[in-house]
């Protein structure tokens, strides 16, 4: 099934893109998406334990099961002031 992944702040830089459409298997979780991009991008892999995922504008836990057409936002912490 198709999902839409959006990257913010340092995750955007780690992946080099802010918006990616990917196909994942039925029953895939938010964590599977993190693993998918972590396996392709070293910095994303290091960020993985510290980011939070929001699906369709709500923060979810990493074992949240995704559905066709979901918008998955990957949001790392930001500390600047």
């Amino acid at each position: 099934m198709k999902i839409f992944v959006k990257f913010f702040a340092s995750a955007r830089e780690a992946v080099g893109s802010d918006n990616v459409q990917v196909a994942v298997k039925e029953g895939a979780t938010a964590n599977d998406v993190l693993e998918l991009f972590g396996s392709q991008f070293e910095t994303m892999n290091r960020l993985r334990p510290y980011v939070r995922v929001a699906v369709n504008q709500s923060y979810v836990v990493n074992d949240h099961v995704l559905h066709e057409g979901d918008e998955v936002a990957i949001i790392p912490p930001v500390s600047g002031g």
């Binding site: 913010f8 802010d18 929001a54 790392p76 930001v78 500390s79 600047g80």
Partner: protein, 479 residues
């Protein structure tokens, strides 16, 4: 069918002191209507005059906030419990003393506030009675404190211990060119007094720490966070949870900003959002990664807005929501966030009951400690200079970004940190390797990476090119 309704302590005088009453209905709205028929004195506490539910009243069905269900249309069955969660009148308990008065000058100054029914004379007096603590007189702290002063917040406290630096001027609008080298707090006081001499400015020239935070926060109604590092953010969060104070959160990097209100009495806290801090260097600070100067202006004014709404008790505070702003796309997104029942500080069984060592928690060396280096893995700029002068054959590697290299470099080959996994074989592993970046954080990660990949002799240049420019070669521009 009768549904159990839980009544919080402050409202029990209106339900014959009972903590649970029964009301009939198939939806939350119907149950509440029946509740009001039976206990009419509750009406003004739950609904405003125009019939809307008061923003500071939270209704839960079992453990779910109805805002995340179908609001007042949420269906209920006989096994459910509807809970009215302790309302905090006006968002924060600003004690408006009866002797708070506005002078003629103030009436004129706040005219445009007094014309808004949601503020009016009552609201303006609340603002005057309010005490807001702003952490940091920097990028976020500037617009926050300036707008709070202009709005007539009676007491503004500011915590900072820094001196104004030329690199601050691009965004920290509290400070002017003439203030470079001055204490940030002195400069802030002058600017804020210039905006509004009626405001009491309390300056706290100290590093916020686990030793002083609780005592300091206790004297304020709202805490607004404009710090630039993770340890202080976790410290501010925990102190606010322990003291039951609302925490107006804002954070920025490059083109991205985040805003929220963490209020553990009625919503999630910062730890519910990010339970684990990233290790130092992984997420750059503004000093490392840069920030568009106008961005703190946008995020800071949103924080000032939320602080003022909390004081007035008007509108819907950004509790349980996090706003993400992407300046390049001009997009604001509002994400829903719930309290984590397992949160170590605000959860059902909290394990944190007092402030901890936040530098240790975030893996940061306490910044006040004198620079001590680990001879095995680190090298100072003075040591490097001496070894180069001696003619030692070293491989110096720069892991910054190309646009930084263009501003200043010391002639070392460049492999940006992000490209290192693909390109580390370009490095001559037979030589001793010295890695540098701007301040020493990214290069520490790079050094770790090389060691893990079999490089025997790798040292991180402590303080990076910043230290080189400051202590060895002033011809290298500082940026």
């Amino acid at each position: 069918m009768p549904i159990k309704v839980f009544i919080p302590t402050p409202l029990r005088p209106f339900t014959e002191k009972r903590d649970t009453v029964e009301a009939e209905g198939a939806t939350v709205g119907e149950v509440l209507q029946d509740l009001l028929r039976k206990h009419s004195q509750l009406q003004p506490h739950l609904y405003s005059e125009n019939g809307a539910m008061r923003s500071y009243v939270n209704i839960y069905v079992n453990d779910e906030d109805i805002r995340y269900l179908s609001k007042e249309k949420t269906p209920v069955k006989s096994s459910d419990t509807v809970s009215i969660i302790p309302s905090i009148a006006g968002g924060v308990d600003v004690a408006v003393e009866t002797d708070i008065q506005l002078s003629k000058e103030e009436l004129l100054r706040y005219s445009r506030h007094l014309l808004i029914p949601e503020v009016g004379l009552t609201g303006q007096k609340k603002l005057k009675a309010a005490k807001v603590l702003v952490i940091g007189a920097g990028g976020l702290g500037s617009p926050v404190s300036m707008y709070l002063a202009a709005a007539g917040v009676g007491t503004i406290g500011i915590v900072d211990f820094d001196v104004v630096d030329a690199t601050n001027l691009q965004r920290q609008i509290l400070h002017s060119t003439n203030d470079v080298g001055r204490s940030k707090l002195e400069s802030a006081r002058e600017t804020l007094k210039g905006i509004n001499p009626n405001v009491v400015i309390k300056t706290h020239e100290e590093r916020l720490s686990s030793e002083n935070a609780l005592e300091l926060f206790a004297g304020y109604d709202v805490i607004v966070d404009g710090t630039d590092n993770f340890p202080t953010r976790y410290l501010v969060n925990d102190a606010c949870v322990l003291l039951n104070k609302p925490y107006v959160y804002g954070s920025i990097l490059r083109f991205d900003g985040q805003v929220s209100v963490f209020d553990a009495r009625r919503g999630p806290c910062y730890r519910c959002l990010y339970p684990t801090p990233p290790p130092p260097g992984l997420v750059p600070s503004c000093a490392e990664g840069g920030v568009l100067g106008v961005l703190p202006g946008i995020i800071g004014t949103l924080q000032a807005l939320e602080a003022i709404k909390l004081i007035l008790g008007e509108g819907e505070p950004l509790v349980g929501k996090l706003v993400l702003f992407d300046a390049l796309k001009f997009s604001f997104r509002e994400l829903k966030l719930r309290r984590d029942p397992n949160c170590p500080v605000c959860g059902d069984n909290p394990t944190i009951h007092e402030l901890i060592d936040y530098d240790q928690f975030c893996g940061v060396k306490p910044p006040t400690v004198e620079e001590t280096i680990d001879e095995e893995t680190e090298i100072t700029v003075e040591q490097l200079k001496a070894r180069l002068d001696r003619g030692d054959d070293l491989f110096i590697l720069d892991v910054r970004e190309p646009h930084e290299y263009e501003i200043a470099n010391i002639g070392a080959p460049l492999i940006p940190l992000g490209e290192l996994p693909k390109r580390f074989r370009e490095i001559d592993s037979s030589k001793e390797i010295i890695i540098h970046c701007k301040s020493g954080r990214r290069s520490a990660l790079a050094a770790d990476f090389l060691r893990k990949n079999g490089f025997k002799s790798v040292k991180n240049l402590v303080g990076g090119i910043d230290a080189w420019s400051e202590r060895i070669d002033p011809n290298v521009p500082h940026y």
